[in-house]
Symmetry: C2
Subunit: 366 residues, 2 copies
Amino acid sequence: MIVGVIGGGQLARMMIPPAVELGIELRVLAENEGSSAGLAATAVGDHRDAATVLAFAAEVDVVTFDHEHVPQDVLAALAAAGIPVRPGADALLAAQDKIVMRQRLEHLGIPVPSWATADDADAVAGFLAAHGGSAIAKTPRGGYDGKGVRVVRDAHDVDDWLAGGTVLLEELVPFRRELAQLVARRPSGEIAVWPVVETVQRDGVCAEVTAPAPGPDLAAAREIGERIAAGLDVTGVLAVELFETADGRLLVNELAMRPHNSGHWTIDGAVTSQFEQHLRAVLDLPLGDPSAREPWSVMVNILGGPAGATIPDRYPAAMAAHPAVRFHDYGKASRPGRKVGHVTSTGSDLDAVLAEARAAARFFDA
Amino acid sequence: MIVGVIGGGQLARMMIPPAVELGIELRVLAENEGSSAGLAATAVGDHRDAATVLAFAAEVDVVTFDHEHVPQDVLAALAAAGIPVRPGADALLAAQDKIVMRQRLEHLGIPVPSWATADDADAVAGFLAAHGGSAIAKTPRGGYDGKGVRVVRDAHDVDDWLAGGTVLLEELVPFRRELAQLVARRPSGEIAVWPVVETVQRDGVCAEVTAPAPGPDLAAAREIGERIAAGLDVTGVLAVELFETADGRLLVNELAMRPHNSGHWTIDGAVTSQFEQHLRAVLDLPLGDPSAREPWSVMVNILGGPAGATIPDRYPAAMAAHPAVRFHDYGKASRPGRKVGHVTSTGSDLDAVLAEARAAARFFDA
């Protein structure tokens, strides 16, 4: 069994351990030498170039992704060559284009924030007037980790983006907290659902994840995840980012069709991690048990990483202080705000688990 | 941080996942192309050749092992080159030579079976006469998985071995069961001790491991493990194979100074696996928590593997029947009796965990 992964970031990297354990061969098409997933890189090249991708994928059983940026024409070329692509091109489109995503979710009857497209400042003005004078603007494509997202209060706040094309406008949802529902689906239709988690973002970047989300049961999140996975024919892991509004409704914010930061806790906190599950799902193998192994898991991202040091440089102090914490280093060069690793703590007392994960992560502050 | 591992078997392979997670670079000197740990192989060559090993080890921070077969002269050459070797040559000698091992354990006051060396059939006859007419004979070096071990009832039963040198004779211990105590020790002296386990051997090969060993607390096993690790100055993981006699005494049967089959359950069943712990220990990093994550873990070896098929070929059926079982494939060609993978089940009911692990392993019967 050979899985080809396009993209050599930390998501591809974290597929390596379960691939090794399961005896699945992983081949990665990396952007450059020395990528995070470099150990499994069998090719280095541009994922936007069909010839490069076809050559890479010639002998794999299935192609999947570290990111959602592979163009539709490249996906079409893979399909034309008879190479299974999971998730498929049509499903991926809803993760690549936020306007398509909003349209399809509405079609499925999934609750989303009030939204509209805008092609000029007049349209922005109209949306602002209808939504209390403020809105979220998003570029339909290419945004991630807070990039391509802007709060808008003036009709001309996104003139720069409008010069390049249509902008997505959404109501500024007065949310109580953010949640994420991770599910996996295999081509045969089987779906596995992890416990819904609470996520905390800072500057648009995921900072902390608590699994499960504290508070009453959120069966609605599970149902939304299942409906989207089946309705969009997603194969592999699907992450559904959700707003929980002040009045308790759940609205879908974003989708990702790959392992997702909100699921990193599953490596140490779930019977089957999102990375193993993604491999199983894209190979159409039976899905593993997604149950939590302990009452609480907390994951804290390491952003930027220690100044002038690597993450392992800080292990002597961090490991001595936190023998039960799980440490993860993505082998990436440090840049301010860049996700370079994470830590996970698990246990039965939420306050203690939160405190331990946060304390362990602080050893890696820049 | 770069760890060089001599030997490309499944023990080196199972160090890859924690190395990836921790951001530790692993370099493997493999016996041949396509080894079990081939993904991390940076060199292929003979571990008995000092020049080969020195070239491999030139840029690593520490050298450690997949097996104990690196000759003392090669270890001396590494030391002379200033390359840290863990465990060190002197400690390793006690794992390489069973006579040295017996001598040193006796010197430490560790209980062992009654033993003697024999250089001729007369000496064998004398030992047999003194021990009820039967004994275990072992070649001092090179044995593993039941090889180099023989039950002796006649003075001439090991004439072939005596032609090659001294033979170790031991009483045939009337044991109730076999146990294994796994510990890890770092150069600074810190020791971590996993729960003692019960092992079941078939034809001299480990078949099944239950963690912890059922029954009353076995603090004596823990104490023996700690005393041997400190007394022999072991760094890295040490496995102590023990007989529990009918009258409840513990006698040391064998030592291994590397991750060991009796500790494979720790990948899925302990907070810190033996493979991660070995990396931490040889790098002199603080040791991780060795606690069990669940009340019971059972590991069952896959021996030989499915006829005409690979282990992943059986995943569709095995995974569908056992969604919570953890599957491990060593990527090795199948031969009768060869260890090619294992499965682990964990849970709170021992009978259920045992039954599930055994049932899952049966999917891979040859």
